[in-house]
Each structure stands twice: as structure tokens, then as C-alpha cells.
Amino acid sequence: MNLSAIPFSAALEHLPGLSSGKLVRYGAILKDAQTGKIVGHLQETGLLRTVMEQAPGLLSGANPVGAGLSVFQTIQNEQIKSRMAALESLMGGMKNLQLATLGTSVLGIGVTVASTAIVLHRLNHIGAAVERMEEKIDAIPKVWEEARIRHNLTELRTQLERVEESDVRSDRDEVLRAADGKLNENYNHFSDTALKMSAEITLDADLFRAVLCALSLCGGAQFRVLLALDEKQAAAKRASAQAQQLNQIAWNLPADVMRTKIADKDTALSLTSDLSELRARLSSQPLTAAALIENDLHGREYIERAVAEEEEPLLVLPQA
């Protein structure tokens, strides 16, 4: 692929800066540790997608969330393995950057380029978590029932399938616009559910993680849809509003409070970390949209370039 078409650079070029601590990653942005100046915007690529799709057993659900299937164990191609190892190093603070977690968790870098298969796989995991909750129906406070999480997950799945289908439809933009509205409504439902959960005395970790994942998928899909429509300002504004909603949830659940609501200390810390990462991701998306505007890039073209990239797992769009 000709990276020069969009001023992408390979993210691995920034590894020395990250290793020395000169650069830090925050969500999807790379910034100078000392001045805070933004250096570039990270973007996941088609290679990452391919690796996830080809990882043995990943999409069949053989690896439960957090099972610890390291990228090093699953990738056979030495060249790709080396790049993925560097990627793992680049992502630094994300201790569990493993294929199993990438395939199912709240993670995602920049505009999501995950295929429908991967996204639906993530959605299946969320559905499974909700099903496990239903087995404990007596313990579910009324609020969970009211939230109708499963109904919202079905709606989310429908919209994601419509977005995927839009590529081969003559009325593509109309379909995307309709899906955007539904996805936004869906995000608000999940956000409301998370907010209610955050106010409860105890928190079911599995269910809360499932809702966070749904928020991540929903938010990521909306950002991608709006960019595909080249509605960059709207994409920035939407992500910004979503980040603020997430801040409200996070305000109710600082790390110490999370610990009092969840019995297992490690689970509580991991959820705090997921919440923080999702916040960072959503709050950095508006800056990615702004960078596209400053570089006069079409949103759809940007996504297509990222998807087509099969040599680098992660790219950087330099800050203008």
C-alpha cells in the first residue's frame, strides 16, 4: 500500500520515543510527555483485523475473555509476530493486549476497522455475559430488567449488520444515516444503564463489563459511520458528547469506590482500567476527526486506507 496517499507513518517508528518515555499514548493519540503536544493519531489497520480473524479458535469462542492467549503464541508468521510484539510494547500501559482481549474487550485504536465477524464475535461475548446474569435472575435488581439490555444488544447487532451491508447498497448513505440515528439511541440506552448501575451499592462485574463493551462497540460504530459519510464535525461532536456521558459514569465509580462495589480486587482494578481506556479512546476521537479536517482528508478514504493496510498493525496520522 502507498502510505503517502494519506500522510500515515508506521507507528513502530515512534517506539524509541515511547520506550524512552519521551512520548506517551493517551487513547488514540501520541503526545510529547513533557509538553503534552500531540505528535500524531494512532490508527488500527487491516493487518490487526487479519491477525484477529486468523488466530486459531479466537472467533469460534475457544478463548474466553482474558484467557491470556498471547499474540506471541498465536501468530506463526515471524515478520508479523515481530510487528505485533512491537505493537504490544507500543501500547505500553495496556497490560492485557492479547488477541483474546482485543477480540472481545473495550479496546480499539482510532477508527475501528474490525470486520463484522469480529464485531459480532465481541457482541456474542456480551450476550453470553448477559445470559449468565439471567441465570441469576433473582439477584438482578429491577433496573437491569428495565434496561432491557438484551433487546438493546439485538438492536445494536441489527444496526451493525446494516452498516456492513451498506457497502453494497445503492442507497448506501441513506442506510448509514438511518443506522447512525439508531446507534446513537442505542448508545444512550447503554449509557443510561451504566449510569444506573454505577449508582447501585454492588456492581455485577460481568454485566458492567458487558455494558462497557456495548458502549465501546456502539460509540466506535457511530464514529466510523459519521466518518464514512464524511461528517467529520458531527463525528467529533458525537464522540465528544459520548466522552462526557462516560465521564458522568466514571465520576460515580472512582477506583476506590469500584473496589467497594466489587468483591474481587483485581476485577475491580481491571474494570477501572477498562473504563479509563474507553474514556481516553472516546475523548481522543474528536481530535482524530479534527486532524482529518486539518489535513483535508475524506473520512471514507481514511477508513479505506486503514482497512487496506496489511503490513503495519498500527499507523500514525501526524498532527498537522
Partner: protein, 223 residues
């Protein structure tokens, strides 16, 4: 696009709040046993005469230990979060300078201003804590010990003055253990807070509220 940058700053402030709150909670969870040990040592040195005048003993020997401990740890934790808030603020101001971000009043408000305004509205008892260290919060005289516990101890003491020497010693030992437990529990409530009573102030709750207020104030100043 200025407002877009403020999202990142808000998120970083939330991370700061998370870290600092956790640091406070972990600090007390980790250190409280030291205070319990000090209380234990002080109360085991009580003589029968001290027991008769236990209120005086408490105020002269136990309260200073607890109060010093509370003041020392409160100051230490406050210094920690002030330093990290200053560091965060410096970074944000630096970012503001580099990108002409609108930081509202954040650059001029400063940490000290944020702290001095912050806790007063929420926790009145902390007013002027930095300079006046004898506020209700940090006082641990007999008034801090619950009345039922003292009454119970008084009754036990009356019994302990009768009988053989070994009987008296055994009774005193039982009383001492009970008293130690009570004082440690009261001290714990003063420091960490009573779970059953979320509205009662404590040193930890005060610190957490101050941290929240700084985070809120900083976020409010963002445009």
C-alpha cells in the same frame, strides 16, 4: 476545535482523581495497624489509678498519640495530592501554551485556590484545617469515645476492684482488651469513617472530598 481538546483534559483529570483517591484509601488501609499498635501500647501501660482517672489518662496520653497520627497522615496525603495536582496543572498549562487551548481560569486558579475553596462548602469541619489543627475532626479526647463504652468500662472497673489479686488482674486485662478495641474502633471511624454512617466526617472522607472538589473545579474551568 478548542472544546475537543478539553475532552482529553477532562479525561486526564478523571484519571488523576482515580489515582489520588485510591492512594488515600490504600494509605490508610496500609497504615492503620501502626496506630492500632500505638494505642495498644499506650493503654496497656495504664495502672489501676489510671483506670480510676481514665478520662484524664485518655486525654493526656492516648488522644495526643491519635491526634498526632491523624495530623501527620492528613498533612502527608494532602501534600501528595497537592504536588500531583500541581504537576498535572503544569502539564495542562504547558499544553495550553503549546496549542492555544482555552483553559479558562485553570492556569490562574491554581491548586491552592482550588483547595481553599473546595472543601469548605462540602465539609465545614475542615475549615482552616491547614492552619488550625485543633478542629473537631482531629480531636480525640474522651468526648470522641462513645458513652455506652465508657459506662460499660466503669461498671467493669467497679467489679475489678474486688476479689483476689489474680481475679483483679484478670478483670483488668479483660477491661483493657475491651477498652483497646473500643478506642481503636473509634479511632478507625475518625480516620476512615463508619461504613454504617456515611454522613459522619472522617479524615479519609475529608481528603476524598477535597480531591473531588479539585477535580470538579478544574473541569468546570474548561471551556
Amino acid at each position: 476545535m478548542t472544546g475537543l481538546h478539553s475532552n482529553i483534559i477532562r479525561s486526564e483529570i478523571m484519571d488523576w482523581r482515580d489515582d489520588e483517591r485510591l492512594r488515600v484509601v490504600e494509605h490508610f488501609a496500609d497504615k492503620l495497624h501502626e496506630l492500632n499498635q500505638l494505642i495498644d501500647t499506650a493503654l496497656r501501660q495504664m495502672t489501676l489509678k489510671d483506670w480510676l482517672w481514665r478520662s484524664s489518662y485518655h486525654d493526656e496520653h492516648v488522644a495526643p498519640i491519635v491526634e498526632d497520627w491523624m495530623k501527620r497522615h492528613y498533612s502527608q496525603l494532602r501534600e501528595n495530592y497537592e504536588a500531583s495536582a500541581k504537576h498535572l496543572e503544569d502539564q495542562l498549562v504547558q499544553q495550553s501554551a503549546d496549542h492555544s487551548w482555552s483553559m479558562g481560569e485553570i492556569a490562574s486558579a491554581g491548586v491552592t485556590a482550588a483547595v481553599s475553596v473546595a472543601p469548605l462548602a462540602v465539609i465545614p469541619f475542615v475549615a482552616g484545617l491547614a492552619t488550625v489543627t485543633t478542629t473537631t475532626l482531629l480531636v480525640f479526647t474522651t468526648s470522641a469515645i462513645s458513652l455506652p463504652a465508657l459506662a460499660l468500662l466503669g461498671g467493669g472497673l467497679a467489679i475489678a476492684t474486688f476479689g483476689s489479686s489474680s481475679f483483679r488482674n484478670q478483670q483488668l486485662e479483660n477491661l483493657t482488651c475491651m477498652y483497646i478495641e473500643q478506642v481503636q474502633s473509634e479511632a478507625r471511624n475518625k480516620i476512615i469513617g463508619d461504613v454504617a454512617d456515611p454522613d459522619t466526617p472522617s479524615v479519609q472522607r475529608c481528603l476524598l472530598a477535597e480531591i473531588d472538589q479539585i477535580a470538579l473545579k478544574k473541569q468546570e474551568t474548561l471551556t
